[in-house]
Symmetry: C2
Subunit: 329 residues, 2 copies
């Protein structure tokens, strides 16, 4: 059986310096009391932390390679939502034992993503305990360039990236709530659930163009409300405009709406931008290769609320359940 130190060394520390070495990143490497990092001059560090718990955020038997990917991806998605460039991360890991095949796959999945984004593992902690993965990620963002939640302005367009709902649809298949229309849809939905793609390039390109932004982790309805509350504005959203995959149209209307509008685990960006930025937004979408769809409008200031409309502009009354970790859906 591997000791804690052997385990850290074999699966993590040896690979901790894999991304391009930079003078300012972890000059100590792993193994001192602290890692040392500094943002480039004129920048600050954007910091986010996420904890993933077996049985809550993932099925205990999930492919460990996918889990390693997702554990880091959900954190990089937070950096994307701020317009920050990934820089480094720490990993704290509680493991019920030392399953070497599991650790190999988990670390492979995590480092494959880390290396794509030149994001260096700079420190961590391992312990025995019920499986729990806590990653804290650090990104660089120029002073005053961060995409905040409180910056939406009256008249702004509201956009989302990619398509929404596939991850929740995949979860529904696993739970037996519904079936996928075909094998390709099942596979795409599972991939959306297990291997979200953090919109890092999009977030960085939107900095200076978009007003407010966040990443959709708990479902569009709940997450858009965070922007509205912090910006003290209201919104109108055209539910028919919210982008979804073709496969999604195979689901019954109520299930489809639940997935798209309140599904969660999308890790797409929702952002607002002034109407005169429409051409710039279109160019950004093309340059980063991510579809960007206008779904609504920020209305005059007032009690934060979303008015849902169908494509013809008729009001809809929707009952949607956001994701709350203490009220399981």
């Amino acid at each position: 059986m591997l000791s804690e130190f052997s385990l850290i060394d074999r699966y993590f520390a040896r690979r901790a310096k894999a991304p391009t070495p930079r003078q300012d990143v972890a000059p100590l490497g792993i193994g001192d009391d602290c890692a040392l990092i500094a943002p480039p001059a004129g920048h600050q560090l954007a910091i986010s932390t996420d904890m993933l718990v077996a049985g809550r955020h993932f099925f205990p038997d999930v492919d460990p390679h996918a889990l390693g990917h997702k554990a880091l991806a959900v954190n990089l998605s937070d950096l994307a939502a701020m317009g920050a460039k990934p820089h480094a991360f720490t990993l704290a890991l509680a493991l019920p034992g030392t399953d070497e095949a599991w650790l190999q796959a988990f670390s492979d999945g995590m480092f494959a993503l880390a290396e794509r984004f030149d994001c260096a593992l700079v420190g961590g902690d391992t312990t025995s305990g019920p499986l729990n993965i806590c990653i804290t990620v650090f990104g660089d963002v120029a002073h005053d360039a961060a995409l905040r939640r409180d910056a939406a302005q009256t008249g702004d367009d509201i956009y989302v990236s990619g398509v929404l709902g596939d991850a929740r649809a995949g979860l529904g298949v696993m739970r037996g709530e519904w079936r996928a229309p075909d094998e390709a849809a099942a596979s795409a939905w599972q991939r959306a659930l297990e291997r979200p793609e953090p919109r890092v390039a999009l977030g960085r390109a939107l900095s200076g163009v978009a007003h407010a932004a966040l990443d959709i982790s708990d479902g569009l309805a709940g997450d858009l409300m965070h922007i509205l509350k912090r910006s003290a504005v209201r919104a109108t959203v055209d539910t028919d405009a919210v982008p979804c995959s073709d496969a999604m149209r195979a689901l019954p209307g109520a299930a489809r709406r639940q997935c798209i509008l309140a599904g969660g685990d999308d890790y797409e960006l929702c952002f607002t931008a002034p109407q005169n930025a429409r051409e710039a937004i279109a160019r950004i979408g093309e340059s980063v290769g991510v579809p960007l769809t206008r779904i609504g409008t920020i209305e005059a200031q007032g009690a934060p609320a979303i008015a849902w409309r169908d494509g013809a502009g008729a009001p809809l009354s929707l009952t949607l359940q956001g994701f709350d970790h203490f009220h399981a859906d």
Copy 2:
């Protein structure tokens, strides 16, 4: 029952801005995708993360106020070991339920310590799951001023702060391994175990004076080896010089040595300094009010090893078991 967002708001977010506001700390407060922080000009951020698991790092029925203190203290101790000034922290928390009395006491204990060190909670994550506390802490340290593990030099004195072994003695009482000699000792040992005092002022004062440093979390024997390995040197340690409390002398010799030399959870600093710094070290100890004791010497470079000697200089052969989270003691 409290929802996740109410819980965050009531026990954490409202108090997240309690420490003295600084322009560079968390300009967003809690509630955006990321916190934003920047070290002062000429400084870098020292970062450490620690995960505490119920049943492994603490008894599930431990006083939650003490647990809140300790969860942050062990992280601040890592900053102290680098000579860094506490700046901010994030908290990720998995909770089996929402016990409001527990949360109140836990957050009180945590914020009492955070406020003493002007260390602001800038972000976090809460989820349901087996009790797990993951704190990541950020401190400021001037470029080239960090106390590293790889900087010990031949001829250096080796010091430890405070006394060692009390925390392990307290754990032994709780486990029924031995009894405390009296009520006062029992209380002092429990306090050492549950409310370690991070040596922040000491660490900062040692910056520029000491060579190598770390905090003793896994026991002196194992932790000193980290310095020796990274500095590629050997050490001689006088076991009779290693400071312990008077109560510790009531324990049988083998138990006492195990507690003092390999107990763990001490959160005292072990550091090396050149012999010509003895007066400076003495003054630092007086100024921060922490006893500093010289326990040994760094020997010429070679295969890292500790030669244990008694007070008369006679070699001792010790069998000590360090703490390994995958080989429970």
